[in-house]
């Protein structure tokens, strides 16, 4: 099994900390890193006719923005970290899609941060880290 670590990354403060942790892990284990960014999306959501018409265009813009504002800078930053880095950019439910990326990459573990939401909102909406821990096929590290 290849030694790959998938890191869930959304550009936030805590995502940076998560990434730093993962880089340390990868160095120690001689692993490579896949920086994964997931754009929240459900094929079962409801859109207006206007949104339907523009969806393809918007999708292009969203991918472009994610590439430039989120993945681009982080790839640049990791260039000289001494760890081999690749990226993955996908649409979908965040936890499910991270699992898909893990499978597609043949990764051996996955590292995510947590947003720090507790209480009511995560009771209603669930938390990405929590659901990932439930469904992931490989060990999950949750960085606080």
């Amino acid at each position: 099994m290849s030694n790959k670590i998938v890191v869930g990354y959304d550009g936030s403060e805590s995502a940076h900390a998560t990434l730093d942790f993962a880089v340390g892990l990868a160095k120690a284990q001689g692993a490579s890193i896949v920086v994964a960014h997931v754009l929240e999306w459900s094929p079962y959501s409801f859109l207006t006719p206007n949104e339907l018409e523009e969806r393809h265009k918007r999708r292009g813009e969203e991918l472009d923005r994610a590439e430039k504002a989120i993945l681009g800078p982080v790839m640049k930053k990791l260039e000289n970290s001494g760890v081999p880095v690749t990226k993955a950019l996908r649409y979908g439910g965040i936890a499910d899609t991270l699992c898909d990326i893990v499978k597609a990459e043949g990764a051996s573990q996955v590292v995510v941060g947590r947003t720090g939401n507790s209480g009511l909102s995560s009771r209603i909406f669930g938390s990405v880290a929590g659901s990932l821990a439930q469904i992931s096929p490989v060990p999950v590290t949750i960085v606080p």
Partner: protein
């Protein structure tokens, strides 16, 4: 808007209504009079009967078309039904296309344009005039209409325009121009122009005035009578804010609440039916007996049939061409898949939701019949069936649901307003597509249409149900006249797509994604 202004805005119409009821009512009357006079000829043209009969040619036109499509595609609505469900579930969608418009989304958006007052008020009109028997013909029309919808939506996706910036435009005007050129047929452009004109009228009629009219009826039913133009202005202001002001939040909230309301509506209807489970057999008896004898309604069996077919077509819009506009944005390599998905639309709209409404009206005993003969009694005018409290249209549905759950009329009022609103938003889009097809795209041109659209909201809320429903039907059916002619000429193309797709599905070339 600050609070004082808001309060003033709410108070002003109320004060006006209280101080000058006579004036207010006369505005409504005036609007109604002008409207009825100026649209009468168009209505008469569309609904003129076959010579020597009372059977409108337009109804025959729709029925014959649906029958031809059903036979030509070998009962595709039944054969492809399970495959349609798989497509909507996303079993055949490429995961790499995530983030694009899914089959589910295209279907949901098209449905929120069609599920609306047709299902609540339209059915009440059908049953109120045609009796329970109208339900039978309505269901039949819904089942047959699935084939019409399949044909037009396949073509809508196949001949859509995809622009460089990634946006898409589709609909009958595009398959008329491009499809006719491809087949070497003349007059494609002419038909597209004609269709666009009727589409604009349909958007202003069924997609707008009928909605405003029945929303107002529903509001007065709950809060008491007041002049329609007040509702009209409030509605117009909100529509204005969304389609001109670009207030997307209102539209997207509606878009999310409407499906929920639809489900709530069907569930409530089911509960009422279960509470009266012993009557369901009797109700179906009434429906079948009424379908072939009329049970005393005006026009007898033919009267029931005309009402059933008319209201079904008005509700599910199969063959009208509007759905082809909504469905054309889906991301798929196979246009035919959107045809499969779209055939679920008349099923959900008419066979499920409309039937629920009709059953609830029948089972709760809203229609007055003569206990001795079992025939329904007619009103003084001799056109409509007597109802317990003299209700018609949406008020009849409301009374039927409220007889089991008193509070439901409030829920229904909210549902009606939301349905009306989402249908208006959808139709403002269909109308705009036709408008820009005729006049070209451009900010000012689009604003002109949108302002006209808002003005018609006010007219629709002010006028009486009769003239509004006549004009709405006439405009929507006029679209079907042009659209169905195009479908006849283009259906071999759909057949080619269908055969190719089915053989690849069978050979395993097209298969589910894991």
């Amino acid at each position: 808007m600050n609070r004082t202004l808001k309060a003033a805005a709410i108070a002003a119409p109320a004060v006006l209504a209280a101080t000058a009821p006579a004036l207010a009512q006369s505005i409504d009357q005036k609007v109604n009079e002008i409207f009825a006079n100026s649209t009468g000829w168009f209505v008469n043209l569309i609904f003129s009967p076959f010579p020597g009969t009372s059977f409108p040619w337009i109804v025959a036109w729709l029925v014959i078309a649906a029958t031809i499509f059903t036979l030509y595609f070998g009962f595709i609505q039944f054969r492809a039904f399970p495959h349609s469900i798989s497509l909507v579930k996303g079993d055949y969608s490429d995961p790499d296309d995530a983030g694009e418009v899914s089959h589910f989304q295209a279907l949901a958006t098209a449905l929120s344009g069609t599920v609306g007052l047709g299902n609540i008020a339209g059915v009440a009109v059908a049953v109120g005039i045609g009796g329970p028997g109208a339900t039978f013909w309505m269901i039949l029309a819904g089942l047959m209409g699935m084939a019409s919808k399949f044909t037009e939506c396949t073509l809508g996706v196949k001949y859509r325009n995809e622009y460089e910036d990634g946006t898409v435009s589709g609909g009958p005007m595009y398959y008329m121009t491009k499809g006719f050129t491809e087949r070497g047929l003349p007059a494609g452009k002419f038909m597209a122009v004609l269709f666009s004109i009727f589409c604009i009228l349909g958007a202003l009629g069924g997609g707008n005035m009928f909605q405003a009219n029945q929303a107002h009826a529903q509001i007065t039913n709950v809060v008491g009578d007041f002049p329609g133009w007040i509702t009209g202005i409030v509605f117009a202001a909100i529509v204005f804010a969304v389609i001109i002001g670009g207030l997307k939040s209102i539209a997207s909230v509606t878009e999310k609440v409407v499906p929920f309301m639809g489900v709530l509506y069907v569930l409530t209807a089911l509960v009422i039916l279960l509470m009266n489970a012993n009557m369901i057999g009797w109700a179906f008896g009434q429906i079948f007996a009424g379908a072939f004898t009329g049970l005393g309604v005006a026009g007898g069996m033919v009267g029931a049939l005309i009402q059933g077919f008319k209201r079904a077509a008005f509700s599910n819009e199969a063959g009208v061409g509007s759905a082809a506009i909504a469905h054309s944005a889906v991301r798929t390599k196979e246009p035919i898949t959107e045809g499969f998905v779209s055939l679920l639309e008349p099923f959900i709209d008419t066979v499920v939701i409309c039937t629920m409404t009709a059953l609830v009206i029948i089972i709760t005993g809203q229609l007055v019949s003569d206990p001795a003969t079992g025939l329904y009694l007619l009103d003084e005018g001799g056109a409509t069936i007597q109802t317990i409290d003299g209700n018609k249209g949406v008020a009849l549905t409301s009374a039927a649901f409220s007889s089991s759950f008193g509070w439901f009329k409030y829920v229904l009022a909210i549902a009606v307003i939301l349905f009306a609103f989402s249908t208006m938003i959808s139709w403002s889009y269909y109308g705009l597509k036709a408008w820009t097809f005729l006049f070209g795209e451009g900010h000012t041109k689009e604003i002109v249409f949108k302002v006209i659209f808002c003005i018609f909201v006010v007219i629709g809320a002010s006028a009486n149900l009769g003239p509004v429903i006549d004009f709405s039907d006439a405009a929507i059916f006029a679209m079907a006249v042009v659209n169905i002619v195009a479908l006849y000429f283009l259906m071999p193309i759909v057949k080619g797509e269908l055969d190719s797709y089915l053989s690849r599905l069978k050979s395993g070339e097209i298969r589910k994604f894991e």
